[in-house]
Structure formats: C-alpha cells, structure tokens
Symmetry: C2
Subunit: 190 residues, 2 copies
Amino acid sequence: LGFVTATRPQRGRKPLLDEVRVVESALSLLDEGGLAAVSFRRIGQDLGVSHMTIYSYFDSKDALLEALVAATLNVPSVRPREGAPLAEALTVAMHDIYGALTERPAIAELLVTLPLNGTWINEVREALLDLLRDVGCGDARARDGISVLFNYLLGAVLIDARRSRGGSPQAYDQGLRYLVDGLCAELLAG
Amino acid sequence: LGFVTATRPQRGRKPLLDEVRVVESALSLLDEGGLAAVSFRRIGQDLGVSHMTIYSYFDSKDALLEALVAATLNVPSVRPREGAPLAEALTVAMHDIYGALTERPAIAELLVTLPLNGTWINEVREALLDLLRDVGCGDARARDGISVLFNYLLGAVLIDARRSRGGSPQAYDQGLRYLVDGLCAELLAG
DNA sequence: ACCTGAACACCGTTCAAGT
DNA sequence: ACCTGAACACCGTTCAAGT
C-alpha cells in the first residue's frame, strides 16, 4: 500500500493502529459493501476501537478517502521506462490504471467526487506527462494529450463498471486505439 | 423539464405540489449548494411542506435523483435529424449533451453513482444508436461506438468540471475528433 | 500523542395517524 | 390520494475528559 507516512517522535502512548491498517480496513469494507459501507464508525468497529480513534490517523473522512485513491492508483507502469516507444508506453500505463480502477470502481467514483487537493494526483499526472515529453512534444500539447486520454479512461471505467447491455469488452481498447493513434499522429507531425 | 407524468384519477385531496415543482426545487438546491444540498428535508423546507410529503411524489431519493438526471439529459439534438451526415449528427448530439452536463456537473456524478435502472437512459441510448444505424452499421458495432463516445464524454465532463491545471478547452474537441474520425473510418470501411 | 463517550446537527426511511 | 410528526438507524464532527 504505497503512501508515505512520516516518522513521528513517539512521545506519549504507543499507537494502537497505524494509517496502513486503517486504509486496509477501509478498503475491505469498500470491497464488501461499496462506498456506503465505509464509515468511521464501521472502521472503528472492524478494528476494535472507538470510531473517534480514526481521527488520530486521518483528519477527516475526505483525507481518508484520498488515501484510498492513492493506494489504488499506485501502479508501477506509470513510471517511465527508457527506450520504449511512446504509443506502447502510453497504452501500457493506461491499461494498468484502467485495470486497477476496474477492480475497484468505487475508487473511480471518488476520483470524480473528491476535491483532489492531494499530491498523489499530481504525481501520477507528472509521470504521464514525462512519457509524452520524452518524445519531444511541447508542454501545453502534452497536457492536452493527458487530459484526452484520462477523460476517456475515467469514462470507460465508470461506464464499463455498471454496464448492463452496453458495448463489448473490446470497446475500451478500440476507443483507446483511436485516441492514441490520433494523438501520436498529431504530436509527431506538429 | 421533459419527463412524463401519468394522469391520475384525482381521488381524495387535491395535491399541494406536483413532480415538476419538486424537481425544480431540487435543481435549484443542486445549483446553489451541490449534491450535498439536495435532501428531502431541504426540499420540503423550500416548498413549505413536511419533508415526508416528498414521498407522495417520489418513492425514494434515488427515484428523485433519476428524475433530475432525466430532466437534464433531455436535449433536443439526440433526436435523429434526417439527411445530416453521420459524423456531424454525432458530433452535434455529443456536443449538446456535453454542454448540458457541463452546466450541471453534479448530474454527471449522478450518472456515475446511480443504479441507472430508469427508462430515460435507454431512450437516450436508443436515440444515439439510431444515429449510427441510419448509416447502415451493425447492431453490435453501433453499441460499441456509442460506448466509446459516451465513455469519452462522461470522462471529459467530470474532469473538465474540476480541472485545476489540466488541458485547454480545445482538449475535448480534439479527443472527440480522434474518436469520431476513427469510428467513422472503421464503420464505413468494415 | 493517542484514546474515548457523550452530544450535536444532519441524513433517508418506516410507521401510525390524520384529511 | 395526499399530508404530517414522531421515531429509528444511521452519518461526520466537536468537545471535554482521560492516559
């Protein structure tokens, strides 16, 4: 569960919990009962503490939810690999993020609902931007490209998650191909 | 506010309200304070009735929220116009839906959160499918096409709504062009 | 620094009762 | 059929008090 926890001076009583255990409990509640099942009271019950104890680790529910998003979005392939062609690197990264969000659609809902003040979104964003900048395209163009791809990714996850009689499973790859092709053609030509 | 209300036998007391007024109140609360401001209690207060009276018009909060989505998505251009080229008709319809959702981003969130059992989503879907079928493409292919476009549309609305330092305003049209071009090329060739 | 229960201000919804 | 207030089972969060 990759998110940073500052080392503390350890004065006073030893903590019963830590941020990771709270996040794990929250994620298991999320997987079982959806977003509605994630509450400070249920987490406290799950961990055998007062629901108020959770405030020792997260200042608010929004702060906890942001940690859930960060833990989910932390996939390795968004880190740029050297030497790989642009289209392939982009496609792999988008595919992995898609996979991570498809396994936990509620996290995609949070991506939409949350204020997104946290640092994690900027990290993911910058990593993807580096993928585009490596190929020598300008900053504004790279931002538009990321926006285009991420728009499509988020929409795909959210719709596919609750598809009743929608498109086929290949529909996502099909659209992604259109976008990557059009994007790369314009980037390399311009 | 285009959604159907069945005419009733009118036995017993004359209603104080009707579904349209409830929806209007809910939408004004939504525009002022976001989704969090939409509650049966506040609507009742706004309309000068008990919060329980709202249950006379909508069986549950989800039913009310679905009506809000239906009222917002009811844009004229999704109805097929005869003689217009496919790419143009699709682009216009997508553009109008995009505009409607951009003015009320919370409705896009609802599109994501809600179960979507209602009939309205099928109507919009069928209307868009007709646009594709008019050009003679198969049913499965048409569904995939709609899925691709709608994925992108929803993602774009949700991201653009809370964009802090994202892509430029043209980013949406750019991606839409890639998708429509790729889609039409494949449809007409295959 | 961490933990706790009571209390506050909200929810949606059920119920029983009124017209 | 429509309207209502009390009550129930939940929330997140503040507060004061404990270790």
